[in-house]
């Protein structure tokens, strides 16, 4: 019906007809958004997370769809808009200055003592071999106030903003990731729920002792059968008939600080009666559980590849009586609590890892500058130069992402989950690569225990796995992006129902698509946002964003809501998104340095330009692949290969020798 009305105009005709029926007609059928009401069908955490935020699983899909469409249309997040092929500069240009003079002064005073402590008191090699943080170091950290960095000052903490926290966590990351996780599991996720969702009574009761380190906290979500699929947890918390307490039963695994914590943020399924239908379903609720409640036990410390100093243990809940006032947030709103906690702490990882990379680069460069082979210092050889340059760029991007996101958060940005997820993926993979290449530059010496880089490498492996595996986070980035782009298309479709009233919007969209089809630029530009010396890199970025936006739209139209299952596609889309955000972030940072006339500005310009050229190539390659007929065949091949090897429980091809 809609199509016929509009096709009277021949100009609109060609373009409109390209939108297949899937997206026309009633909202009920349209795009990814509808999947909201089918949440139960999708087990993956990514889909769940995408679907449950920001508006909850709704009963009235139609109004929710419209509201979301309106919200998405006004999002300030760069990543959200990038999926629509648009450039939202508010959160990325200029590079945020998130500290006022007083905060900056205070932070400067803190950096010295913290660095000194880690240089002189903390012994990372000892912590690693003891598989525990030395007692006197723990005491020193508690005295130092390191356990309550973001707790408000009136509750015994330091009340640091995200940017200040990031700067200190960077120092920890540069010295000892095992200690970093002990501190992070405690405050970045362990009791963050109380900071974000706790009521006044809960905050006043728990935060002071947590800030001083008298009590350690732990975040308990993962179970033996529920990792990425967090919504499938089986720990239960059943409300007593009197309504005064819950009885909790279940077991959690791989809990950081599990063996030493006193306060646990635990996620359990609570049976809830739907007031409208009378049906009882299990929903996740977050609880504050004290070891002193009784029934809480923990297992021995796990033996791990890295971050050995951090305690990792199983935690068991046997008929634990949890008072009803220990519910954190809303009953049944636990999944949102969990996702918000993880989202809120993600920038910390990028900050810590940027510090780790810096210190590892120092070791590699020190070796390269002093080692002579074939008559020259090895840093004069191209192979080594490329490694050092790449390591430097990866560190520069990570650092820029960390402080851009923390700056955005401190400035009150409401939407940063895609960027935070991107930063976690990027930082963990970049750090792994940098450590790996550092060992390579150092040669045999890198493999030896003493220089300490092998320990850093072992410590880093887990960062690609915990707090949301990078694979899941890639799905999250892509699906989140598709959802927003889908909403945009939906709102466009709505506009088409009333073409006269929305003539401007429609005309704009038509012009954009016509230009795209003709291979012309759609008018997007970064001019005015970036320093003129970076114009070329800016152009590459804009071109990449345009092509990205276009392929997103094509993919949405082609797959509709089934895009959720196309993981080969989603991974590549996420990789593009990561590269694009990285380009924009370094453009912003380098622009600022050039504008400030920093002595290192030209060096940063080089980092930025080099990064943008290679990132652009990667994005273009992926965009091409996603549109090629060959890609479908490749993905199918891989699917078949995997099926065969899984069925055979091993490689299928017979031995070349025949036996």
């Amino acid at each position: 019906m809609l199509l016929r009305k509009v096709s009277q105009s021949s100009a609109l005709c060609g373009i409109i007809l390209r939108i297949p029926p899937v997206l026309s007609g009633s909202p009920r059928q349209a795009g990814v958004v509808v999947a909201v009401s089918n949440a139960r069908l999708y087990a993956s955490q990514a889909a769940q997370a995408v679907l449950e935020k920001p508006a909850a699983v709704g009963s009235d899909a139609a109004t929710k769809v419209e509201k979301k469409a309106a919200a998405a249309a006004e999002s300030k997040s760069f990543a959200v808009n990038m999926f629509k092929g648009q450039i939202a500069t508010a959160q990325v240009f200029p590079f945020p200055k998130a500290l006022n003079d007083e905060q900056e002064q205070f932070l400067r005073e803190l950096v010295g003592p913290v660095s000194k402590f880690f240089e002189e008191v903390n012994d990372p090699a000892k912590n690693d071999s003891l598989e525990k943080v030395e007692d006197h170091t723990m005491e020193g950290l508690k005295e130092m106030g390191a356990f309550g960095l973001q707790v408000p000052a009136d509750l015994g903490g330091l009340g640091l903003s995200n940017t200040q926290y990031a700067r200190l966590v960077e120092i920890v990351g540069a010295h000892d990731l095992g200690v970093g996780i002990t501190l992070g599991a405690h405050q970045s996720i362990g009791f963050k729920g109380i900071l974000l969702f706790g009521n006044k009574a809960q905050k006043e009761k728990y935060l002071p002792k947590l800030a001083s380190g008298e009590h350690i906290a732990a975040f308990c979500l993962t179970e033996p059968a529920s990792g990425s699929d967090a919504a499938s947890i089986k720990t239960t918390a059943v409300l007593s008939p009197c309504g005064k307490f819950y009885t909790m039963n279940g077991s959690k695994i791989w809990i950081s600080n599990g063996g030493i914590a006193e306060i646990f943020t635990v996620f359990a399924k609570t049976p809830m009666k739907d007031p409208k239908t009378g049906e009882t379903t299990d929903k996740i609720t977050a609880f504050i559980v004290e070891r002193s409640f009784g029934g809480v036990t923990s297992g021995p410390p796990e033996k791990k590849m890295g971050i050995k100093a951090s305690n990792t243990a199983e935690v068991y809940f046997d008929d634990v009586r949890v008072p009803a006032d220990c519910v954190l947030g809303e009953v049944g709103g636990g999944f949102k609590v969990a996702m918000n906690i993880l989202n809120n702490g993600r920038f910390g990882m990028a900050a810590a890892l940027s510090g780790t990379m810096k210190s590892v680069i120092i070791k590699a460069v020190d070796h390269a500058a002093n080692r002579t082979q074939f008559g020259n210092k090895i840093h004069t050889y191209g192979a080594i130069q490329e490694k050092i340059a790449r390591m430097t760029m990866l560190q520069y991007v990570t650092e820029s992402m960390a402080y851009m996101i923390s700056g955005n958060m401190d400035s009150g940005a409401a939407e940063f989950q895609i960027e935070a997820a991107i930063s976690k993926i990027f930082a963990s993979e970049a750090a792994w690569t940098v450590a790996d290449e550092s060992i390579q530059v150092m040669g045999g010496m890198g493999f030896m225990k003493d220089p300490g880089v092998e320990r850093v490498m072992r410590d880093l492996r887990i960062f690609r796995i915990f707090e949301g595996t990078n694979d899941i986070l890639r799905l999250f980035v892509a699906l989140n992006g598709f959802q927003n782009a889908g909403n945009h298309l939906k709102s466009l479709q709505k506009a088409l129902k009333n073409p006269i009233g929305n003539a401007g919007l429609i005309a704009g969209e038509i012009t954009k698509r016509a230009k795209r089809k003709a291979g012309l630029s759609t008018g997007l530009t970064l001019q005015g946002s970036i320093h003129p010396e970076l114009a070329q890199s800016g152009d590459l970025t804009v071109k990449a964003i345009e092509q990205f936006g276009e392929v997103i739209e094509k993919l949405l139209i082609k797959h509709g809501k089934k895009i959720i299952d196309e993981q080969f596609v989603l991974k590549r889309v996420a990789d593009c998104a990561i590269d694009l955000y990285a380009m924009v972030v370094v453009l912003s940072r380098a622009s600022r340095s050039l504008g400030q006339g920093h002595p290192s500005a030209q060096h940063e310009k080089m980092l930025c330009d080099t990064w943008c050229v290679e990132a652009y190539d990667r994005v273009v390659r992926d965009v091409k692949l996603l549109q090629s007929a060959q890609s479908k065949q490749l993905f199918n091949n891989m699917r078949s290969i995997s099926a065969a090897v899984v069925e055979n429980r091993g490689v299928v091809s017979p031995h070349p020798l025949g036996f």
Partner: protein, 254 residues
Amino acid sequence: MSGRVLVGVKRVIDYAVKIRVKPDHTGVVTDGVKHSMNPFCEIAVEEAVKLKEKKLIKEVVAVSCGPQQSQETIRTALAMGADRGIHVEVSGKDYDSLGPLQVSKILAALAKKEEAQLIILGKQAIDDDCNQTGQMTAALLDWPQGTFASEVSLEAEKIKVVREIDGGLETIKINTPAVLTADLRLNTPRYATLPNIMKAKKKKIANVKPADLGVDLTSRLEVLRVDEPPQREAGVKVETVEDLVAKLKDTGKI
């Protein structure tokens, strides 16, 4: 003895930094270089705070002479436990030529103004290595001095000081008021904890000008030139004494 202790703290280039001479040879590069409290001053602050914790003295006042940035050094002292600070503002050319004579005049004037009973300083600063300020201050005030202190104990109206001297350790008893200078083994300075740094923000730092204290800052010294120490050259191994003598003759040493 209860009363007020003045502790002098100096802002110097951090001990871990590689020092470079300025191209014009008038001094060393300080711009953008990491600075921190002189290590011996840290020991002095620690000693003063310890005395206060033992309730042997009432108030610890941290003093620093220098430009705006000296306030950071005072803040560190406050974070370690000093009660309040005094920043004597000296900048520009005056700061370049500021030396022990001027500082000791300032400290003497402040000690009188603040009615201090004890002045504790570091034995020397790691940038100029003068080892004079404590001694000069005591002389100007006509107070006894306990320098190179590795142990300090307050007894009634006297102070027992164990001094590190070339021959070993010397124990002396001096009257108060007095000037002490801290040596390396006097104590191990505490780490400024982050909560203490936060509390230190509320402590007061008074601003004073040398002119207010009636102190004349003119220097009697003029720095002519600053150079790096000569590059250490490689040594040569010789087999016999004859060779040694021959080599020494060759290079004109004998």
